[in-house]
């Protein structure tokens, strides 16, 4: 039994006080890697959420079951219906922001293990024909050493299907929302992929859902190449 094998918290490196959860008691397999203090800083998304993007709905930023962002995407004929649904695990709070930054920019790959059991749970409950990570450009992949979205899939024990490559390498975050929406295509379908998109349900995977534009760009190309529907899953929202 691998309960409590590491003495130190994966995130803060502090000595862990083991958290005995019901799953670990019942199944005896749940490996605790993160201390209680760190674990408590992750906030699961809860309450009423947008039917498309999982955003927690605020009173003045919604129309029925959708948030204003998704309504705006829906009003644009280019983008309407591209993304069927997005599921996310945690609120993108300061703590998660820090952990993700360390994971993908500093390259602390092993931090992904803090999330794998929840990801596994979530992916098991969703149905799809392929799990597709949002790709990095070749330069960025070399620079980081790994694709943070792909690691979310593989470390949870699933197999990724690489369907996309990047055309554009410019930093997206420096552009305004309208720039991003009207940007020429960022992704293309990978010509070397043997996977037939025809009538397939694709689940895109990324670390963060920010504006949803990256995921919608990816979804659009997949739909244009025959996919039946495209949804997405991200760690943070």
């Amino acid at each position: 039994m691998k309960l409590f094998s590491d003495e130190y918290c994966l995130i803060c490196h502090g000595i862990r006080t083991p958290v005995i959860s019901w799953t670990s008691l019942l199944l005896g397999t749940e490996e605790q890697l993160v201390c209680e203090e760190c674990q408590n800083k992750f906030k699961s998304l809860s309450g009423e959420r947008c039917g498309i993007c999982s955003r927690v709905l605020e009173v003045d930023y919604r129309k029925e079951e959708l948030c204003y962002d998704c309504i705006r995407w829906g009003q644009d004929s280019t983008w309407s219906g591209t993304l069927t649904q997005n599921k996310s695990l945690y609120e993108y709070n300061d703590f998660l922001k820090e952990v993700i930054a360390k994971y993908k920019y500093r390259g602390d790959y092993t931090l992904v293990r803090a999330f794998t059991s929840r990801i596994k749970e979530e992916l098991t409950s969703l149905s799809f024909d392929a799990l597709t990570p949002i790709p990095l450009s070749q330069e960025r992949l070399y620079e980081r050493g790994f694709n943070q979205a792909e690691a979310l899939i593989t470390e949870a024990g699933f197999r990724p299907t690489h369907l996309l490559t990047r055309i554009h390498t410019e930093k997206q975050s420096k552009k305004s929302r309208s720039d991003r929406i009207h940007l020429p295509q960022v992704f293309q379908v990978d010509g070397e992929s043997a996977f037939s998109l025809e009538e397939k349900t694709i689940l895109l995977v990324d670390d963060i859902y920010t504006t949803g534009s990256t995921l919608r760009h990816a979804a659009k190309v997949l739909l244009e190449h025959g996919a039946k529907s495209v949804s997405s899953f991200t760690l943070a929202r």
Partner: protein, 501 residues
């Protein structure tokens, strides 16, 4: 990154035109040695950038092709950053061997499962396929002559104790040996370095003052610059702009030393005992990496570890003491006062009577005081209880966003009593205060921490006296040793005539 191996050299895979067998640097048993080609005209900018350093490719703003040319001509070397012998892994940048700091990832740079070091990750990730790059060509010239010149512009005078230590530092620098300067809190240890630094500069070498804490780097830099006005000083801490300066004098956090390799002829480590140097073997490793072989090593501390104290007593370690403060008054000796189970009392929103009595006395006399508590949690319980007696009482801890403001208010006497965790144990000085510890038996209060805490009192020449009281629920060895250390320093001070009767 992968390399093809020629008998004479390594070739990084991005520069290969054919497809020979390649390996990661850690898989290559013996790295080829390339003799220096004196006729090669090297890039002086790269020379300045890389001399005395160990950097990653991504830290070098030069094309790989140019870096490789310098390698091929014997001007720089590629070293392994991470090695593995059986199950034992070792990071050669930070010296970590503890398995818990290593992890693996499927690496896009080498296409293998790469082991990486989490301990020094913040300095840029090193993994099995990472080459550490160092300069082995001729060293750059530093502008301005230093030989036979008065470099030190300081008009102050040293106390007899300081003078003695200063002479020892100069001597150690001449002999290029190791020396521990054991100077009590408030002895004025920085001035003791001045002559030694000048001596080291005269010898033509590079000098580094390393300290675990950024605060100290920031405080030391203007002081050193002021007394060595003609010497360029590089001040290095996380985010500093002097990162690529090649200067005679460097003041750096021990952490920043991880980027240095055989750089310094003299290394002075200030506050050897301070966190994290004493607990973090990584930083000790960094100091060893950063110094040249046969370089001078000066350690400064008010509270050497028990191992070092023993080595001093046994004659195994060269050391010099400054047992007295520059104002020639003895160090306040801490009093021990048993206060019962204060933790239990605190849980019931009460404080020990003798402790309350102590606090009330300071309030009556309007005397400022520092009170140390073992944990933030207990500090937060004590604060409201103390405020029942006086409104001008504040609490501060390491992560307090208003830490600076509160320390300033204390300095300006706007706060009467400041409650704190161990963060204020060193560095911060207030002229006329009494000091108390509530819960001195807690393991956080090590011998060295308690000596530092006691050292906050009686600092100024105007107010050389201050009371130090350790309220405890059971005397600890650390408390006894701390008291003993202070008493013995005072005794030595009297004996050497460094204290007024």
């Amino acid at each position: 990154m992968r390399f093809a191996i020629d008998t004479y050299q390594l070739i990084p895979s991005p520069l290969l035109k054919t497809r020979p067998e390649t390996k990661t640097i850690s898989q290559i048993d013996s790295l080829p040695h390339i003799p220096l080609q004196p006729s090669f005209s090297f890039n002086h900018e790269l020379q300045r950038y890389l001399s005395g350093k160990q950097l990653l490719l991504e830290e070098l703003p030069f094309p790989l092709k140019e870096i490789q040319e310098h390698y091929q001509n014997g001007y720089l070397i590629y070293r392994k950053a991470l090695i593995q012998n059986g199950r034992q892994k070792e990071c050669l940048r930070c010296g970590t061997k503890d398995h818990r700091w290593f992890s693996t990832f499927p690496c896009a740079r080498c296409g293998e499962n790469c082991v990486y070091c989490r301990q020094c990750l913040m300095m840029g990730r090193v993994s099995s396929c990472t080459p550490l790059i160092s300069w082995v060509g001729p060293l750059p010239e530093i502008e301005g002559s230093v030989k036979d010149q008065e470099l030190l512009q300081w008009t102050g005078t040293l106390s007899a104790g300081q003078q003695h230590a200063s002479n020892a530092v100069v001597h150690a620098t001449r002999q290029q040996t190791e020396l521990l300067v054991w100077a009590v809190c408030g002895a004025g240890k920085t001035e003791v370095l001045f002559k030694g630094i000048e001596q080291a500069l005269h010898q033509g070498g590079r000098v580094c003052i390393a300290t675990p804490r950024t605060d100290v780097v920031l405080e030391l830099t203007p002081r050193i610059k002021a007394v060595f006005p003609d010497i360029e000083v590089a001040s290095l801490y996380g985010g500093s702009e002097d990162r690529h300066k090649y200067s005679r004098l460097t003041i750096a956090t021990t952490h920043q030393l991880l980027r240095f390799y055989q750089a310094f002829d003299t290394v002075i480590v200030d506050e050897v005992d301070a966190f994290p140097y004493s607990v973090d073997s990584t930083l000790q490793f960094a100091v060893q990496q950063a110094r040249k072989t046969g370089s001078t090593m000066i350690y400064l501390t008010a509270t050497p570890s028990s191992t070092w104290q023993r080595e001093c007593r046994q004659g195994k370690r060269e050391f010099v003491t400054i047992p007295a403060r520059y104002h020639r008054k003895p160090l306040p000796v801490p009093k021990f006062v048993w206060c019962g189970n204060w933790g239990k009392k605190l849980a019931n929103k009460a404080l020990p009577d003798n402790f309350v009595h102590w606090v009330k006395k300071r309030i009556e006399k309007n005397k400022q005081a520092l009170i140390f508590a073992p944990k933030i949690a207990s500090m937060e319980l004590i604060l409201p209880l103390l405020r029942n007696y006086h409104p001008n009482i504040e609490a501060v801890h390491a992560e307090d966003p208003h830490r600076k403001e509160k320390v300033n208010s204390m300095r300006n006497k706007e706060i009467l009593i400041l409650l704190t965790t161990t963060i204020l144990e060193r560095g911060v000085t207030f002229p006329n205060i009494d000091v108390a510890v509530l819960g001195a038996e807690d393991s956080i209060f090590t011998e060295s921490a308690l000596v530092q805490i006691a050292g906050r009192a009686g600092r100024s020449a105007q107010f050389p006296n201050g009371e130090v009281t350790f309220f405890h629920y059971g005397k600890t060895e650390a408390m006894v040793l701390a008291q003993k250390q202070i008493v013995s320093m005072n005794k030595e001070g009297y004996k050497k005539g460094l204290l007024d009767e």
